[in-house]
């Protein structure tokens, strides 16, 4: 027993260091995989308040550019309004909403804090579970998909952006319809890559990359970027496809959150798929 006390006394500095270091590293490793158990994030209200004040100062830097982008989107949407369309069919056919059921609802939000230089980049939005935001909802801007909700609190939420190591959004290349997973290598904030594209089909440069909508996070056909270059991977029948993102994450300010109203049905159905033999 005396030896034990002597040991603790001798190495107390190192033990204290190791203790704190283990706490820090545990939080770091755990957060990357289990976000629900953590409280110390920018989604908690005190830190988010400070960041909101900070955003009040810096939001003006990109304001005119963002306004232009929003105006363009407005013009595009206004074109589809009934008042700007000429009605060909007059009272012959009435469309009652049994043919179209609303599947996606959108919630507007403002980015109050974001990073682009890290290996895993997140941003904080000014909406939370008060507005019905839940984990794994998609987030997109006027130019295309930007991330997936990672963690929510009452007034704020943290979004895992496309610039994250394990984002894995399922995308497809138009018009041929090949699909794969979108990845990011942690270096360039303007470019990512798609994995799982087999090299038996030819892909045109600058063809559009859109979301596939398979997991119910994003609606189908939301733009993500364009194919910038295609290279063969040595020893594998796959293409290495480099995508140039359509959104510039450095100036991201206004986003929309996708609320899939039929996600429960999809999940319920997919849970009925019998597991593979090897998994048993």
């Amino acid at each position: 027993m005396r030896n034990l006390f002597a040991f603790f006394k001798r190495f107390r500095v190192f033990l204290f260091f190791a203790f704190l270091q283990i706490i820090a590293l545990t939080i770091y490793v755990r957060y990357l995989s289990f976000p629900k158990s953590q409280y110390l994030t920018t989604a908690s209200s005190v830190t988010a308040k400070v960041l909101e004040t900070q955003n009040d100062f810096i939001k003006h830097f990109n304001l005119s550019k963002n306004n232009l982008a929003l105006q363009k989107e407005n013009i595009r949407l206004r074109k589809n309004l009934p008042q700007s369309l000429y009605r060909i069919d007059r009272n012959v056919l009435k469309i009652n909403d049994t043919t179209f059921k609303q599947q996606y609802a959108y919630i507007p939000a403002t980015v109050i804090h974001s990073t682009v230089t890290r290996l895993n980049n997140y941003f904080t939005l000014d909406v939370g579970w008060k507005q019905g935001i839940k984990r794994d909802m998609g987030v997109f801007s006027d130019k295309g998909g930007v991330g997936i909700v990672h963690n929510t609190r009452e007034p704020y939420c943290v979004v895992k952006s496309v610039l994250t190591k394990d984002i894995n959004i399922d995308v497809m290349i138009e018009p041929i319809g090949l699909f794969g997973l979108l990845k990011w290598d942690g270096k360039n904030a303007r470019r990512g890559s798609i994995t799982g594209i087999s090299n038996d089909l030819r892909i045109k440069k600058w063809s559009k990359v859109v979301t596939r909508g398979g997991s119910g996070i994003f609606p189908r056909g939301l733009s993500v970027g364009r194919v910038e270059s295609i290279k063969g991977i040595e020893g594998e029948p796959l293409w290495d496809v480099v995508v140039k993102f359509s959104e510039n994450f450095r100036t991201l300010q206004r986003v929309y959150i996708v609320k899939n109203l039929m996600i429960e049905e999809q999940k319920e159905l997919e849970a009925q798929i019998p597991p593979d033999e090897e998994d048993k």
Binding site: L20, L25, Y28, L40, T115, R118, K187
Partner: protein, 171 residues
């Protein structure tokens, strides 16, 4: 101003400067400016090793909370605090440090500061990027980020000290 109020003020200033300003500067080439290690460096010579490590940990955790990094800053700053007494002892004068002086470039001179702060910042930056990237095949990327960020953070730390600090006088 007493030492205590001075250090409390510095704690707040450094934590917020790092969390709200320097973490948002994007220079490119993997350069990440960090000024908060300077706070740990400038704590008084006679501070106990436990309070030194606790302060470093708390400061790192505060910056973590503001930048969604969850323990990354805390871990690397703690690493630096652990090595600070060891390197101070190694470079210390034979009769021990003068307690009225501060471990800054204006008090201790360029040569002493160059080596001590250089080693501490190297440990801090290397650990930070090693944990952030944590992949062996990206080793050269870790080195590139470490070396470039080290040079720029170092120059920034020296600039801050020469602008804002005076030589300590005998009480």
């Amino acid at each position: 101003m007493t030492d205590l109020t001075k250090n409390i003020l510095r704690f707040i200033l450094f934590a917020f400067a790092q969390a709200l300003i320097f973490n948002n500067l994007e220079i490119g080439f993997g350069i990440h400016l960090m000024v908060h290690p300077l706070f740990v460096m400038l704590l008084p010579f006679e501070i106990g090793v436990f309070s030194l490590m606790s302060l470093a940990f708390v400061m790192g955790a505060i910056i973590d909370v503001f930048s969604n990094t969850y323990g990354l800053y805390a871990s690397s700053l703690l690493m630096m605090a652990f090595f600070r007494p060891i390197i101070f002892k190694f470079y210390g004068p034979r009769e021990g440090y003068d307690p009225i002086k501060e471990p800054s470039i204006v008090d201790m001179g360029g040569r002493w500061f160059f080596f001590v702060f250089g080693y501490l910042l190297l440990i801090h930056h290397f650990w930070f990027f090693l944990i952030e990237i944590f992949r062996i095949d990206q080793f050269f990327f870790i080195l590139q980020k470490t070396v470039l960020s080290l040079v720029f953070s170092y120059l920034l730390s020296i600039l801050l000290q020469t602008f804002f600090m005076k030589k300590s006088k005998a009480k």
